[in-house]
């Protein structure tokens, strides 16, 4: 029942200044998705400046050479569009989805801020305050805030790029200066360090001509080399306990290493399939056993990456994670032992071919749902072009995953079972949670 992968038209080119351009025309609706992805994320930010990549993303919305503060938003929304940005381990993404007639405007806006964002003392102070409120909403004033995306890498890795908190320390954020922003922009926001993708109701030749017109005059700069961030796997089990007065019940996350998602993609995809066989959906082994047979956990999921399932949008190392929420009368050690048993069993006994068929079909369905949105499609194309050097990988992924064999999944599980794991535990404090 697995569907064929799509074979959409894909135009790829590189401008003289190094900006990579990807166009995927599709006329299903009169909309375009525009994504500009920069090859910079948490892992590139300087020591003493944790959270700077994300803070800088906010500054990119504060105006540019020909765009006043708030005008970016006003022009996009006033053209009937929506926009946002996001910062991840290796990528900073900006996107707009708009009626097709606003394509030129979106490209012009992106070009102006790629050329010259307007960072002032006032905007910087304002956005530091906004980012601090964002961190309070999502981390400090929230049960399980930052779990596991901040706390697990801190334990599982030793080197600064992989281990530090990408939202940043308030002391570091407050130390940020306009000069830092100038240097960061000069180093990481050059056209040669970026990819532009346009998906939807457009003509590839027009898009390339427009990209040349608006971005072509931006000086190339020299693209910095991202990474390598690889570091040796831990040689011992690691444990960390975090007391969370807001959390109503215990939780823990286990972290394991995986093969390089870029250099060893097919090997890495065997781990993606293993994550799905083990802990994605109610048919998966760990959920069927621990949630629905033993009734010993409230929720459980397996995925790879920092934000769960984003490992193809990042470079090595990417963590395979098992995230578990459970009642406080169930022992964390016993759950961990059971999880290790199931992983080891997958390693020794392998999986049935029909288990893989399920994983492949579900992945293909998820793929189609993702590409149904013009901005999702543009973001995925630009991200894959940036990290893997080929946007066309998007269309190949369902087939590549479909080609993974039971033996490859078993080998992946055997490797996971042999590893020293990092385990972050969230302990509710006695007065925490709701009554």
């Amino acid at each position: 029942m697995a569907p064929r992968a799509s074979r959409q038209i894909l135009e790829r080119t590189t401008l003289g200044n190094g900006l990579r351009v990807v166009v995927a025309p599709d006329h299903a609706s009169p909309l375009v998705g525009v994504a500009v992805v920069y090859d910079v994320g948490f892992r590139s930010e300087p020591p003493g400046r944790t959270g700077f990549a994300h803070l800088f993303e906010h500054l990119m919305f504060q105006g540019s050479a020909h765009v006043a503060k708030m005008e970016h938003a006003r022009l996009v929304e006033g053209a009937g569009g929506v926009f946002n940005g996001s910062t991840r381990s290796d990528l900073t993404t900006y996107y707009e989805a708009l009626p097709a007639g606003a394509l030129d405007l979106a490209l012009w806006l992106e070009a102006d801020r790629m050329g010259a964002p307007a960072v002032t003392e006032e905007n910087l102070a304002n956005q530091i305050a906004v980012v601090e409120e964002e961190i309070k909403v999502n981390v400090l004033n929230q049960p399980y805030g930052g779990f596991p995306w901040i706390s697990l890498p801190e334990l599982a890795f030793d080197t600064y790029p992989n281990a530090h908190n990408g939202y940043g320390d308030f002391t570091h954020l407050e130390r940020a200066t306009v000069a830092d922003a100038v240097a960061f922009h000069a180093r990481y926001y050059a056209p040669s360090n970026a990819t532009l993708a346009v998906a939807g109701d457009c003509d590839p030749d027009d898009v390339v001509a427009l990209a040349e017109r608006y971005f072509g005059s931006i000086a190339s700069g020299r693209a910095p080399v991202a990474g390598p961030w690889s570091e040796p796997a831990p040689r011992e089990e690691r444990r960390r306990v975090i007391d969370d007065p807001l959390a109503p019940q215990p939780a823990f996350a286990l972290g394991y290493r995986t093969p390089d998602p870029v250099g060893d993609l097919s090997h890495h995809l065997a781990y993606v399939a293993a994550a799905s066989v083990l802990g994605d959906g109610d048919a998966s082994r760990l959920r069927a056993r621990l949630m629905h047979h033993d009734h010993s956990v409230t929720d459980l999921g397996c995925s790879i990456g920092v934000f769960g399932g984003d490992s193809l949008m990042m470079r090595d190392p990417a963590l395979f994670q098992v995230v578990v929420y459970h009642p406080d009368d169930v022992s964390t050690d016993e759950l961990t032992t059971t999880i290790h048993e199931e992983i080891a069993r997958l390693g020794t006994d392998g999986c049935r071919p029909d288990e893989l068929d399920r994983v492949t079909a579900a992945f293909a369905g998820g793929f189609w749902q993702g590409v149904d949105s013009v901005n999702e499609r543009a973001i995925m194309l630009a991200s894959l072009e940036t990290i893997h050097g080929r946007a066309g990988l998007l269309d190949e992924l369902p087939d590549l995953l479909g080609a993974i064999t039971p033996a490859a999944v078993a080998a992946a599980a055997a490797d996971l079972a042999s590893q020293h794991t990092a385990r972050v535990e969230i302990h509710p404090t006695p007065d925490g949670g709701a009554s």
Binding site: P30, G80, G81, G101, V137, G433
Partner: protein, 449 residues
């Protein structure tokens, strides 16, 4: 700062967009009483199926059963256990899940368009033969209780629950989230009885959007859901309309140690069927419904008090509600309320500018196109309309209704629905930090928990 010049080209104009033909809408009530809404959208080779069932007032007030039911309905059927059912859907490139939102229980399935007959067969199997195994129900109610405890520990959940009680008084909609002890009392037998009562084809809405012709959808629904459709009984009575909002004052709920306060300000809004709705939607966008709104510009971009202030209109069967919400630093809680009321009062008394209105209008139409451009987005939008007793056809009339609202209409709507004089205020935060200053602004009540 300038590291490089910006672009050298002048800012381009926005071109008009080609008109797209309105899709053909299938909108009919079958003899069983099922309301079927279908649209063919061939953008990807998938299909979305949403079955939405409105609950009667009794179940809205006692939602522990329906809440556990949404977790247990997929726990097993005559032919599949839970894992087998999940497996069957995933093999079709999809999934099935159930949810309770306000007063609507929904079953949401998706998968490859070519698999629609099998998807419907599986849904029929769940609808006619869900078994609610006793042991699964026990586990599910405990898990639901744990999830509710988790949900209630979130400040935004505490705030929205307090706000519902503040706004809706004795209406079923004021009912708090079911508590863990009530959830742990739900039994398998009661769920089996409730299943038939809830999943009654009469009064239910089935929305199908995907790469399937609507005539084929209608035929397949009658054919594949036939056994379930034959089970129709008497439909549920409508809910009473929401009571009028009693405006004024500040209701403060203490959350000791909170780093931020959740500020909620809101009141009644016109329903989507109301001729005043498009103008109200536009007034709301200008005040706080988009990024370039007055509230974002003021609270976030000028003052840095909050990450994401916003104003939304929530539509439900018994009425619609406008809600302004912001999570603000404790030290600036009172200052934020001053700014929120200022912006609401300014819009209500002075209206909005022509330029603001035209920006909001283009945003309303464009973001509507974006929201409904995916199969999932269109199906969700159609479901939101029909479950709040709004004709599905109004989904497609939305752009033209928005296009017709005048500046006068919008300013009247702002005055009648967004003025602080007609709205209620609830704040959840650390009372020891925020109460003294709030008392300087308005009368503060602190309900006992």
């Amino acid at each position: 700062m300038r590291t490089r010049p910006g672009t050298l080209e002048p800012r381009p104009a926005v071109r008009a967009v080609r008109r797209v033909a309105m899709p053909r809408l299938l909108d009919e009530t079958l003899t069983s009483g099922l309301h079927l809404v279908a649209v063919r959208r061939p953008s990807v080779p998938m299909v979305e199926v949403r079955l939405c069932v409105p609950l009667g007032a009794g179940l809205v007030r006692h939602a522990a059963g329906p809440l556990v039911l949404t977790g247990a309905v997929t726990a097993g059927t005559a032919h599949h256990d839970r894992a087998g059912l999940a497996d069957a859907f995933e093999r079709l490139g999809g999934a099935l899940d159930a949810a309770l939102d306000d007063d609507v229980v929904s079953l949401h399935a998706f998968g490859l368009a070519t698999a629609l007959p099998t998807l419907l067969d599986l849904m029929n199997e769940v609808l006619t033969s869900a078994t609610y195994p006793a042991e699964e129900v026990r586990a599910e109610r405990d898990r639901t209780a744990d999830e509710v405890i988790m949900d209630l520990s979130r400040p935004e959940s505490q705030a929205s629950e307090a706000f519902r009680v503040r706004l809706y008084g004795h209406h079923p909609y004021a009912t708090p989230t079911p508590r863990p002890d009530a959830l742990r009392r739900v039994g398998a037998a009661s769920l089996r009885a409730m299943h038939a009562r809830i999943f009654n084809p009469r009064g239910a809405h089935l929305i199908v959007v995907g790469d399937v012709a609507t005539a084929r959808v209608a035929r397949l629904v009658e054919e594949r859901l036939g056994p379930w459709l034959a089970s129709a009984s008497v439909g549920v009575a409508p809910l009473a309309p929401l009571p009028p909002v009693v405006p004024g004052g500040i209701e403060l709920h203490d959350r000791p140690g909170a780093l931020q306060s959740n500020v909620l300000v809101g009141g009644a809004a016109p329903r989507r069927t109301d001729p005043q709705w498009p103008a109200t939607a536009l007034a709301n966008l200008v005040v706080g419904g988009m990024f370039t709104s007055r509230l974002v510009e003021n609270l976030r971009e000028r003052h840095g008090y909050t990450y994401s202030p916003h104003s939304d209109v929530h539509h439900a069967r018994p009425g619609s509600t406008v809600i302004v919400a912001a999570e603000v630093g404790s030290a600036v809680t009172a200052a934020s309320l001053v700014e929120i009321r200022y912006e609401l009062g300014r819009a209500a008394s002075l209206g909005v500018s022509d330029e603001e209105l035209e920006g909001a209008r283009r945003y309303a139409i464009g973001s509507y196109l974006i929201r409904t451009s995916t199969q999932r987005g269109l199906a969700a939008t159609l479901a939101a309309y029909v479950t709040s007793d709004t004709p599905a056809s109004l989904v497609f009339e939305h752009p033209s209704r928005i296009a017709r609202a005048t500046l006068d209409d919008v300013n009247t709507a702002a005055r009648e629905h967004l003025g602080p004089g007609s709205l209620a205020t609830v704040i959840v935060g650390d009372a020891s930090l925020v109460e003294p200053t709030l008392r300087a602004l308005d009368q503060v009540t602190t309900p006992s928990p």
